[in-house]
Subunit: 489 residues, 2 copies
């Protein structure tokens, strides 16, 4: 067992180096260094992969004698991962890494030039390789399940269909209800200099009681969170002059991810159980801090005074005006800027298209047309600019099929967790008073301290005493937005 | 040959990751992450070492068929390194890495608390291991040569003694001559806010025509240069409010190192010839840019207007006043803050002590007393604070015996190179006019483009058409400081 842990900890050190190489690439790296950096990342990533499917690891896993619940989970989760990835031939893995890196680089060019053809041939290869991977990863009925399981263990397309279909109808209904009420004023529709935005964001992190000895905030084109090593998690944000909400909610979102990563027990570090339960669970925490807590009236009540101090031009707005302003619902093109309500439709659209791609029901060349058609159906908006359509997100071009649904699952988990939390702690009062350590304490005890010992469905049941159910999200949205729009939705 | 190069390029990728892990540790890493970071650095460093002494590399080197001068140099330099380090048992290498990492960490504590005993037992081990290493590395007469050769190939203690002894006498004589003249006014004895210091330093880099697509400037406690990867070299500086010269000359010094690293041909990257000729040669370039160019009257003539614009409180000083101010000679405790003249004594003192340590003529416990005695002899100053004495530099504690002399050799090479350069280009005019690309062009052609194809003594002869000689430095110091102090020194 000790040797097994040692081996995992060795792999973790290469993953730590990779994480830093990636973080640096997105934040501080001089521009001319990008080509070589991709080579370094590929070398070290491949080496970590080779170790993670080595016979040595296999033998250690098979001969380990667990003597605690943690050991048992380590071997169980470790064996599952090992058996799964072991089946992928090294050449296929490396080819996927190589092709998807090039494809993601070309995607940036394609997006900038608004030209799908630039990336199309490489995306074809990425889709082909992804389909090939499903054979090695294994599945029962739907090849898509093999890819989805990488991000959300135990989840299937069948279950997603069952959850997403009524959610789509609900969202369309709510959206129509909101639009009947008319527009809410937006205090944030103004230019704010990045310096003051930064000042406020740094204050926000202090207010949220973040630990500056283990975490840091930087700037990148696309905000992200990167656990670099033990006691070291980096988050980024971006300061857009005419969109001050952007930095605030990016920062809180990434702060949520960071809380999770920093609260997994040190003794789990580097082990298969030493990460979040799943991508969906990880997202549930960024979404919990960003939306459920960060866009709540108690939160804005607690920070209103400081907010007006930094942005005196907003002093004529009441705290309720500001709160309504951060909760405006509107049809829009870009997923990452979407509100809590319409976000659902953005994800379902992507899920339906990627599911069709992997099941040979859609070909790569037809993606733009299929996207535009579905977008028009769900949002009633026409897409004239492909960078606002199927070229907006990097996921497919980087080979992450099966990733998108976890964003929506994150919202659903978060609402269910919130419902359980409110029964045990006085959420509103704690949030008004800035006692976030008590909120985090609850989440740590129930979720963060478990690492990846349980699969998502097991954990949600342990945390909330009920099976995973989208009704909590439906209730949350209905109540919250009825209040935001002063209307019975 | 291709396979050999491929293997070296593979090792280089791990070195690139190590370099970034180190740079980040000194610049942006959250404080609580230091323990784990040391483990990651040790793992990846050991792996790179194991590859660099592997049988696989040995076989590739022995069976390679070079077909060009570059290939021949690759195999020659590669074989020399391989044969040398191959003899060190992996356990000894790892033990040295482990012990010296701990010792260097304890040194920081010892320095802070001004207590040599904290670090003494670990320094004993580092010295023991260093002595053991000399047996594996090999030497003719003096075990110190084995350690010195790691930093300055082909150099010996015998030759250092021959060069350093007259240099010591010369320095003491010049210093006395200067002190007879009396003090020069120091326009820099004032507080300057770090913001304006940073503004000026960033402008300086632009003025020096640095390439911001391949290089970046950050802040760290001790300024350093780190080549991270192809087209990626990082430099750091520090902004000390009451010592504005500190950042300016740290920046130019590290800029000099960076010029060298960035001008080695891309095709050498990762190969044994893909670095600077030696530590001394590398230092010759930082010293050339910092002192010979950066503290010259033509340089200050060229930047005077901008300097006064950023620091209007200095407007009452003429360009000659400022130039004298950056060239003040004074006895001082700290090597890194010493002027061009007394720097020589700082190095010789360290060299004599470390030479005695490795030759069993000095024991670790006696270092503080021996240091203080020699310091009193050379500088006439008494040391009451050990952090200004033998605890000021990290080198010994990190196991870098044989490193210090390369700093002084750097000064000597730089003066000899400057002498040759002035015969071929109109240095003063180019520097006044800011045409640094022509200065760099000359250095690139003669030095940087050669990478590590030649040993230091071969290269200095190729560059200057004369054997290595300290007379150029003696001439340079005599002429320059006679002018600075308006006196015949």
């Amino acid at each position: 067992m000790d040797k097994l842990k040692e081996y995992y900890q060795k792999i973790a050190k290469y993953s730590s180096a990779s994480a830093l190489l990636y973080w640096d690439m997105q934040t501080y790296m001089p521009s001319a260094a990008s080509e070589y950096r991709a080579e370094v990342l590929s070398e070290i990533g491949s080496y970590a992969f080779i170790m993670s499917v080595s016979d040595e690891l296999g033998n250690l896993l098979k001969s380990a004698t667990p003597s605690s619940e943690i050991d048992e989970a380590t071997v169980r989760v470790g064996l599952k991962e090992y058996e799964k990835y072991k089946k992928i031939p090294a050449e296929v893995f490396e080819e996927m890494l190589r092709v998807s890196t090039i494809c993601e680089q070309l995607w940036q060019k394609a997006k900038k030039e608004r030209n799908f053809e630039i990336v199309e041939p490489y995306l074809e290869k990425v889709v082909e390789l992804s389909k090939e991977m499903t054979k090695y990863l294994g599945y029962d009925n739907d090849p898509y399940d093999a890819l989805l399981d990488r991000f959300e263990p135990g989840m299937t397309a069948e279950e997603l269909n069952r959850i997403f279909t009524p959610l789509k109808e609900f969202t369309v209904k709510v959206l129509k209800g909101i639009e009947k009420v008319g527009k809410v004023g937006d205090p944030f529709e103004r230019e704010i200099d990045p310096e003051r935005q930064e000042k406020f964001n740094r204050w926000l992190l202090t207010h949220l009681k973040y630990d500056s000895t283990k975490c840091r905030l930087d700037v990148s084109a696309h905000p992200f969170t990167n656990p670099i090593g033990m006691n070291d998690v980096r988050i980024t944000t971006r300061y857009v002059p005419n969109d001050p909400k952007n930095s605030i909610f990016s920062t809180i979102h990434e702060f949520g991810h960071a809380q999770y990563a920093l609260s997994i027990p040190d003794e789990f570090y580097g082990l298969p159980i030493g990460s979040s339960t799943s991508y969906g669970f990880d997202e549930s925490q960024s979404r919990f801090w960003e939306n459920i807590l960060g866009r709540s009236l108690p939160f804005w009540t607690g920070i209103y005074e400081k907010f007006i101090e930094v942005f005196p031009e907003m002093a004529s707005y009441s705290v309720e005006d500001i709160w309504r302003g951060v909760n405006i619902v509107r049809r829009s093109y870009i997923r990452t800027e979407a509100d809590e309500v319409t976000y659902t439709l953005h994800i379902i659209l992507r899920y339906e298209l990627e599911h069709a791609l992997i099941n040979d029901e859609l070909s790569v060349k037809d993606i733009p047309a299929a996207w535009n058609e579905l977008f028009s159906k769900y949002f009633g908006l026409k897409i004239d600019d492909i960078s606002l359509g199927c070229l907006q997100d990097p996921h497919w071009y980087g080979g992450s099929f099966g990733y998108f649904p976890t964003y929506l699952l994150g919202n659903l988990y978060a609402a269910q967790i919130y419902d359980a939390m409110k029964k045990e702690i006085d959420f509103d009062t704690l949030v008004v008073n800035g006692e976030f350590d008590k909120v985090r304490g609850w989440l740590t005890e129930k979720i963060y301290s478990k690492g990846r010992m349980y699969e998502p469905k097991e954990l949600i049941k342990k945390v909330t005493n009920s099976d995973f159910d989208s009704k909590y999200f439906i209730d949350y949205v209905t109540k919250k937005y009825s209040r935001v729009y002063s209307s019975n939705l």
